[in-house]
Every structure is written in C-alpha cells, then in structure tokens.
C-alpha cells in the first residue's frame, strides 16, 4: 500500500498542517515506507491468539456509582484561556 501525493495533501488539510509543495513528494515516499513496514503485520498468525487487554491477568475495575470527587470547578476554570460565568468561551461555531 502506498500514498499518492494527492492523499498526502488531503491528510495535511484534515490535520490542519501547512505543507510546502516540495514537501509533498518526500512525505508521500516516507509515509508509504511506514505503511510498507506496518503491512508486515499481516504475516502474523493470529487465529489461535486470544485478544489481550492487559499483560497481566486483570479484570477492569469498576467504582461504586457515587460522587467521590470534590467540586473544583473554580480551580479548573482558573487555568482556561477564556471563561465567563463558569462557562468556557470559544469562537462562534454556528452562524
């Protein structure tokens, strides 16, 4: 599997990354090499391998459904770039 220059431009746009035209071809080649390396995984025989969620025998712990955290809204809002009346402010999303 390889990436075309057109796909690289598309991914860059989705990731909001600025890309100079002369960077497109080298990135396409490097990313294709990574995909090539990753494709080696398809040689692994996994039919008899059980999926693993943790390297040790462990089950997911669940906590009791009660309030356990103190309300620290003011502390958390104090580190935000822009807040008003306890709400986070962002630029207008819908016209």
């Amino acid at each position: 599997m390889s990436l075309s220059p057109e796909q690289v431009r598309q991914v860059a746009q989705l990731a909001r990354l600025q890309l100079n035209p002369e960077q497109v071809e080298p990135y396409a080649r490097q990313l294709s090499n990574i995909l090539e390396m990753v494709s080696r995984l398809s040689s692994a025989q996994t039919a008899d391998v059980a999926p693993m969620a943790h390297p040790l025998e462990m089950t997911q712990r669940l906590r009791i459904d009660t309030v356990s955290e103190p309300n620290r809204r003011d502390d958390y809002q104090a580190i935000a770039p822009e807040v008003q009346d306890g709400l986070y402010l962002v630029p207008k999303v819908i016209e």
Binding site: M37, V38, L41, M58, R61, I79, P81
Partner: protein, 341 residues
C-alpha cells in the same frame, strides 16, 4: 565537595550521620545546576524555593530521628508529571503556561517519602522523540560529549543525573524513552512492568504503552526510588492491584545460579560492533559472578516495531486531541474560528 558522586544510600547515611543537612545537600545540587545546566539544558524549570522548603521539612524529620532512606534526597522530575504550583510543560508550547490543579500520584508519593524536587527535567515534546531535539525549550546535550544527543524522550532526566545535577530522576517510557537515553548516557534505567507505577497525572502519549520509571547511576539507587513510586492506585484504571516486591533487601544477594536468556533476534544484523562488544563484556562479568546464559528465541520480535507504529500514533492522536485551547493550554492569538484555536 563531591556530594554529587555519592550513592543514595551514602547520601542517606551522611544525612543521618550529620555530615551535612538536607538543606546543604539541596544547595549543593542547586549550585551545580546554576553552574553547569546552561551547557546541557537538562531542566525546563528549576524550583529552588520549593526544594529548600522540602529540604527544611526533611531536616526537621531527620532531627527527630525519623524518616527513611529517601528523606532529604533530591531528585529531578520529568516535566511530564503534573505538579501543583509548578508549571508542567511536557516540552511543549501548548502547555508553556500550564500549572496543573493536582499532583501526579508519583509526585505525591515521592514528596511523601521526603524527597526534594530540584525542578522539572527537559524532554522531547509530548515525549515523542529519541534525541531530545524536539523540545520547545531547546535541545538537551549529552554531558559525556556536548556535541552529541542524550537520547530521548527522557533526555533531561538522563543528562541531569549523568552530569551530577541530580542524584536520580524520574522518567517515562512508551517505546524506549527510558531505556535508550539511559544507554546513551551510561546510566541504569528501568521501564517497569505496565501497571506497576501509577500513570495518574502523567501526561498521556500512548496509554497502552506508557509507563513511568527511573534513571539512576546504579541499580541500587534505582531500587530505592522505584520502590517508593510503585504500588496500586485506584486513580489509574490499569494499575496492578497486588503488593510491591521488596526491591531493596535482595540487592546484595549473589546472582550465582541465575539463568539469563539471550534472545537471538536481538543479536541480528544492525547491531553496532561497539554495542555488541559491550554486551559481550557484560555477559562475561555476569558469568564470572555465577550466572548462566542460554540462547532463546522470541520469533515475533521483528513485528514489534510495526505494531508500535500502529498503536502509538493511533493512541497519541486520541490523547493529544485534548490540547484544543479550550479548557487549558495555549490558544492562538485572535482566533476567530474553532479551527484557528
């Protein structure tokens, strides 16, 4: 003074024997940081006031005849661990102004053990890198040869310990970020078993691989601090709920009869001759100490790097989505749309 050449055990004995106080020890290290770190850039933030307050508290405990081995021992914390009142940048401009509203569990534990935090160690941005050249705060130099990299992502941690600017440092490892820089600076580094050390308050890169550990000048130093960092934490859902082994009491036991496996896949083409030679010398030392070696095979080893390149970037893109400039962190000047944030 050559306090910075002493082991943690020797420092602890010196504190108890009143050869020096925790304040004097802390001042010694702060002085070395002020004198030498401009050449290395191993710290992003140095915290002298916090350090001296912790040192005075340790001296008070020691004066009562209380405290344990780590009471009054300084350390560097990798700048990936959240610390209340001290900026936690993770090596990124995104968090240049970020002061966490809580402490990481390991910060809490090492504070409680009486350790003295000298400052926050430099690192590759968001722990992604193997050379410590990607930090927003500039590259870290290898103290053995400042024209070379110290490795990464825990480059500040290893440089500070190798240069004697801190007796020991915390570090984290996702795909080699403790082991590789420790090797490049002649230190002992350990990535513990996943789940052994709490990840609460440790900024996430790839959650199913991230684990905290230490870099030290000896296995003995590492054992003391790793012991204090380890243990079950209900705030980390992947933390292991079982007792921590005693890492310290077995340190002087003979290794006679220990059997060590040498995976043949690790000695394949691409192993640098100098590295191979060093490993063979180490094998000889272990043999003289009574250990035996047998060749083993880990046939799936060649698949580990491709696996990493699927797991790590996928988890990183989920984890880093939180740095959106809404709840904390850097927000672009004059952003008019969500994309511009």
């Amino acid at each position: 003074m050559t306090l910075h050449k002493l082991s943690i055990k020797q420092l602890a004995d010196g504190l108890r024997g009143k050869q020096f106080s925790a304040r004097e020890l802390t001042q010694h290290y702060l002085g070395r940081i002020a004198a030498h770190d401009k050449d290395l850039n191993s710290f992003i933030t140095v915290t002298p006031e916090r350090a001296l307050a912790q040192a005075d508290a340790a001296d008070a405990v020691l004066a009562q005849g209380d405290g344990a081995t780590l009471t009054g021992i300084p350390l560097a914390q990798k700048d990936i661990f959240c610390t209340t009142g001290v900026r936690t940048s993770c090596g990124s401009k995104m968090l240049d102004q970020f002061v966490a509203p809580y402490d990481a569990t390991i910060v809490q534990k090492l504070d409680a053990a009486g350790m003295v935090m000298l400052g926050k160690a430099n690192m590759d941005e968001f722990a992604m890198g193997s050379s410590n050249e990607t930090s927003y705060y500039g590259p870290v130099k290898n103290p053995w040869d400042v024209t070379r990299v110290p490795g990464g992502s825990s480059g500040g941690s290893v440089a500070s310990v190798a240069a004697g600017l801190a007796p020991i440092a915390t570090a984290t490892d996702t795909g080699g970020s403790i082991r590789q820089p420790a090797a490049l600076t002649n230190l002992t580094g350990i990535k513990p078993t996943y789940g052994r050390v709490s990840r609460y308050g440790m900024i996430a890169f790839a959650s199913s691989l991230d684990q905290a550990g230490v870099v030290a000048r000896s296995a003995e130093d590492a054992a003391y601090v790793l012991q204090a960092m380890s243990g079950f934490d209900p705030k980390d859902s992947t933390s292991i709920e079982r007792p921590v082994d005693d890492l310290v009491s077995g340190l002087n036991q003979s290794i006679k009869g220990l059997r060590i496996g040498l995976p043949s896949e690790y000695f394949a083409d691409g192993l640098a001759p100098g590295v191979r030679e060093r490993i063979e010398q180490a094998i000889d030392v272990f043999k003289q100490l009574g250990a035996t070696f047998s060749e083993v095979s880990l046939p799936n080893s060649p698949l580990s790097v491709p696996t990493y390149y699927v797991v790590a970037p996928a988890e990183a893109s989920s984890n880093l989505a939180r740095f959106d400039g809404v709840r904390y962190g850097h927000r672009a000047e004059g952003a008019k749309t969500l994309e511009e944030l």
